[in-house]
């Protein structure tokens, strides 16, 4: 197999001392239990592909795709290896070698035909203003919610401006390893959303954009809210909730205290789950796993949902729309014993 992309990661793969420290918190390993389910195992597989000691196979592709990019391994690593980056390169090489899967191709066709992951014609709710706001596909589809979330910024003294024709930022093809499609989508995104500085509503988009567009400087909506909320004198909601740290927020952007402080600002008490903050378990929705293997993704979500339920809180708050969806599905399956809400909803309640 030609290894166009993994080649760039040779040094990193050699830097891995294969210590296994990354086993400790990996949700895939906890769920499946074989060493190919561990971060180290996946890096060893990538190295095998790189050196040609392993021939690519569906088995390897499956293992390389079974990673939620939760970044738990990075924080535990002896050598600061970014396993998700190595796996992204391995995915790209596997795609070029012809390991393409229907679920991925269908999703990417939707992105290509409609500009969003739903394959539907979706427009951002119009809102004239000065500061561009990127909604991201998932909030684009929840247009009523998105309208309210944009209004939060107005209430905080900003002049947010939506861009009706915004399209997908390129995260799905990027994460799944479709390099050409990623580049094409990124170019289209730049054309439709021609701003370098903007506010981004979606956790996953902001994280992807910061990592893969060198010239863009998005602000995550929560950063802006965190700064401005104290001045806005929000209403005290008097709720008790539990908070799920989305991987990209807690581990990815190092924002553990901000969402919690916001909860306090709006008069909410929070009860922590068994794992929280940087140690929070992943909901199973990231890294494309929700598309690759929904059942597996839901198994992880179910575990996280159980942790939330065990706190006794009646409301489970989070930020990432994919976490929200995955956890809400679990709550629904369990008779809605807990209500899953986006923190933005609570903020809106406190400001309206």
């Amino acid at each position: 197999m030609e290894v166009k992309y993994l080649k760039d990661w040779e040094t990193e793969m050699n830097t891995c001392i294969r210590c296994a420290y990354c086993f400790e918190g990996c949700p895939m390993f906890k769920e499946k239990g074989w060493e190919s389910d561990t971060p180290r195992g996946k890096v060893v597989l990538a190295y095998g592909l790189f050196t040609g000691q392993l021939e690519p196979s569906d088995y390897i592709a499956e293992k390389i795709l079974e990673c939620t990019f939760c970044r738990d391994c990075i924080q535990r690593c002896s050598a600061n290896i970014s396993v998700p980056d190595i796996l992204t390169a391995a995915r790209a090489d596997l795609v070029e070698a012809g390991f393409k899967y229907d679920s991925h191709v269908n999703l990417l066709n939707k992105v290509e035909s409609s500009g969003n992951i739903f394959g539907k014609e979706l427009k951002a709710p119009p809102h004239p203003g000065k500061t561009p706001v990127l909604l991201g596909c998932r909030f684009l589809e929840r247009s009523d919610d998105a309208k309210r979330y944009v209004e939060i910024l107005t209430k905080l003294g900003m002049e947010p401006m939506t861009v009706e024709d915004e399209v997908c930022c390129g995260m799905p093809p990027g994460v799944l390893g479709y390099k050409d499609k990623t580049n094409k989508q990124k170019a289209l995104f730049r054309e439709r959303f021609p701003y370098n500085e903007f506010i981004c509503m979606c956790t996953t988009c902001v994280f992807f954009i910061r990592k893969s567009y060198t010239d863009l400087n998005p602000t995550y909506i929560i950063e802006e809210i965190y700064k401005r909320l104290p001045e806005a004198n929000p209403r005290q909601l008097g709720l008790t909730v539990t908070y799920h740290d989305p991987c990209n927020v807690g581990r990815g952007m190092d924002m553990v205290k901000e969402p919690r402080k916001i909860l306090k600002m709006i008069g909410c008490d929070y009860v922590e789950m068994e794992t929280f903050g940087k140690e929070a378990e992943c909901c199973g929705g990231g890294g494309g796993v929700l598309v690759t293997d929904r059942e597996l993704s839901e198994k992880l979500a179910r575990k996280r949902y159980r942790q939330a339920l065990d706190t006794g809180a009646k409301i489970l708050v989070t930020l990432c729309p994919t976490c929200e969806l995955n956890l809400a599905n679990m709550a629904k399956e369990d008779g809605n014993k807990i209500e899953v809400k986006n923190l933005l909803d609570l903020i809106w309640e406190a400001l309206r």
Partner: protein, 474 residues
């Protein structure tokens, strides 16, 4: 190999023979890479027993495997027919007896998980290696692991009161006792500790526990000369002081941490971390003060002391992050587990560190010396460009010369990581008279030589060609 027999024992889902999976199980934290024939995951003692009986009848090698964190190729198979026995699913804590100060666990229990479970009872299982977050009790027993605090708490062997062992032929035997002392026979369980999976499969262990100390105080001291630090270590131990940790870091280790992690450790020739712990604060104060005095008498300067956990974590931060620092010390160079571990008498610590530096310079390698010097343990790593054949040839010579020196000064090839493959040639060279006895013991317990064959006394004489090397050489 008859796959259906094994599937019949452990169930379809607990057997893997996909080559990619096998390749992953052919690696550990060493420089070696092998390829087994099968991975099997038992969930009970009976399953282990049946697997062994089957493997013995077919003369198929079996390698027990915990986390695969061994640094010398312990769990790397030498034969492509080998069965890897992944013990990680046997991870139940069976008994915690705080009043009798012991616990009983399955072999796949992870050390930190055990200590988390013991904590509410106010007790701990103390030999914990640095890898305790992932290392299994079975792997620790097989390697006689020890850790930062071995100077006070000792190594695994001192804590294994008894065990259940599956022999090569599948027989299940009970060894040892649940009491602190015993004088009943050969104490075979103590022989199993450190046997690196070559004499039997540990399936269950009864482990001695100790109370969690209430107070812990850590200090760090700088030395402008490595030799002064070396003398201090010996003097502390000889004084009868009871450190719970006594750790050395040389100038290369200090530079590595400062350079790669932007830390600001003082760039002196050596740092010594010394710690005391206990139930009574005055007693801990006394220990720390007596060690401080010795440090100062030997020309060291104590730069920080704290009881506070946060502070202690900060003081120890540089040592804790040493692995990360070494692995990124030089672009394109890898941090390899070679000559990673040895133990020398206290008076030889400084000379050994100096010798390591000299040998590294001679061969164009980078090596540092650090370790649990309170127990005589010295660690290092060989940093080199792994893509060049010459680097490996140089590393081989360096490993030889280092261990020759260690032997000359009365030291031993491994203090805590074990021998397996990459340390075997040096160890065999210096411990030749022990080998025939070991071979007889091995034959008595494993006549078909199926338990982790090709390791320890049976390891090849050249570690570089013993298996494939994990790195791609040009």
């Amino acid at each position: 190999m008859d796959l259906s027999s094994l599937r019949g024992i452990v169930g379809e889902d607990n057997v893997r023979d996909n080559v990619a999976e096998l390749y992953v199980y052919g690696a550990d934290a060493s420089v070696h890479q092998g390829l087994p024939g099968l991975v099997v995951k038992p969930h009970s003692i009976e399953q282990v027993s049946q697997i062994m009986a089957y493997a013995n009848s077919q003369k198929i090698p079996v390698i027990a495997r915990g986390a695969g964190s061994g640094m010398s190729g312990h769990a790397v198979p030498m034969d492509t027919k080998s069965i890897i026995l992944d013990m990680k699913a046997m991870n139940r804590i069976l008994e915690i007896k705080p009043d009798d100060m012991y616990c009983r666990v399955e072999a796949g229990v992870v050390d930190d998980d055990l200590n988390r479970a013991l904590k509410p009872y106010g007790i701990t299982y103390p030999p914990s290696p640095a890898s305790s977050r992932i290392a299994t009790i079975g792997g620790e027993i097989a390697n006689n692991a020890s850790g930062l605090r071995s100077v006070k708490y000792g190594a695994t062997r001192e804590y294994v009161l008894g065990m259940r062992l599956v022999l090569a032929n599948g027989d299940i035997i009970k060894l040892g006792a649940k009491t602190r002392v015993e004088a009943a026979g050969y104490q075979i369980h103590r022989l199993i500790v450190g046997s690196e999976g070559t004499l039997g499969i540990v399936v269950e262990a009864t482990l001695k526990c100790v109370p969690i100390p209430k107070y812990r105080c850590l200090s760090v001291a700088t030395f402008d000369q490595l030799e002064k630090a070396g003398d201090t270590i010996g003097a502390i131990i000889a004084s009868g002081a009871e450190p719970s940790m006594l750790e050395l870091m040389d100038d290369i280790a200090i530079k590595a941490v400062n350079k790669t992690l932007n830390m600001d450790l003082p760039e002196v020739e050596a740092l010594i971390f010394f710690e005391a712990d206990g139930k009574v604060k005055e007693a801990v104060d006394h220990e720390i003060n007596s060690m401080r005095l010795i440090v100062e008498q030997h020309g060291g300067t104590v730069t920080a002391t704290s009881y506070d956990l946060k502070e202690r974590t900060k003081i120890f931060g540089g040592r804790k992050k040493l692995f990360a620092a070494l692995s990124r010390y030089k672009d394109g160079w890898a941090c390899t587990s070679l000559a990673d571990d040895m133990a020398v008498p206290y008076t030889q610590m400084a000379a050994t560190a100096r010798k390591i530096h000299q040998i590294a310079d001679k061969y164009g390698l980078i090596m540092t010396a650090y370790g649990h010097c309170g127990s005589g343990v010295m660690h290092t790593k060989i940093l080199m460009d792994p893509s060049k054949k010459e680097s490996w040839d140089a590393a081989k010579k360096a490993v030889d010369e280092i261990y020759d020196f260690v032997d000359e000064v009365g030291g031993i090839t491994s203090g805590e990581h074990g021998i397996a493959l990459s340390k075997a040639p040096s160890w065999k060279k210096t411990h030749g008279d022990m080998l025939p006895v070991m071979t007889k013991i091995k034959f008595a317990l494993d006549p078909n030589n199926i338990l982790n064959p090709g390791k320890l006394q049976d390891a090849p004489d050249d570690w570089l060609t013993a298996t494939k090397i994990r790195y791609q050489m040009l």
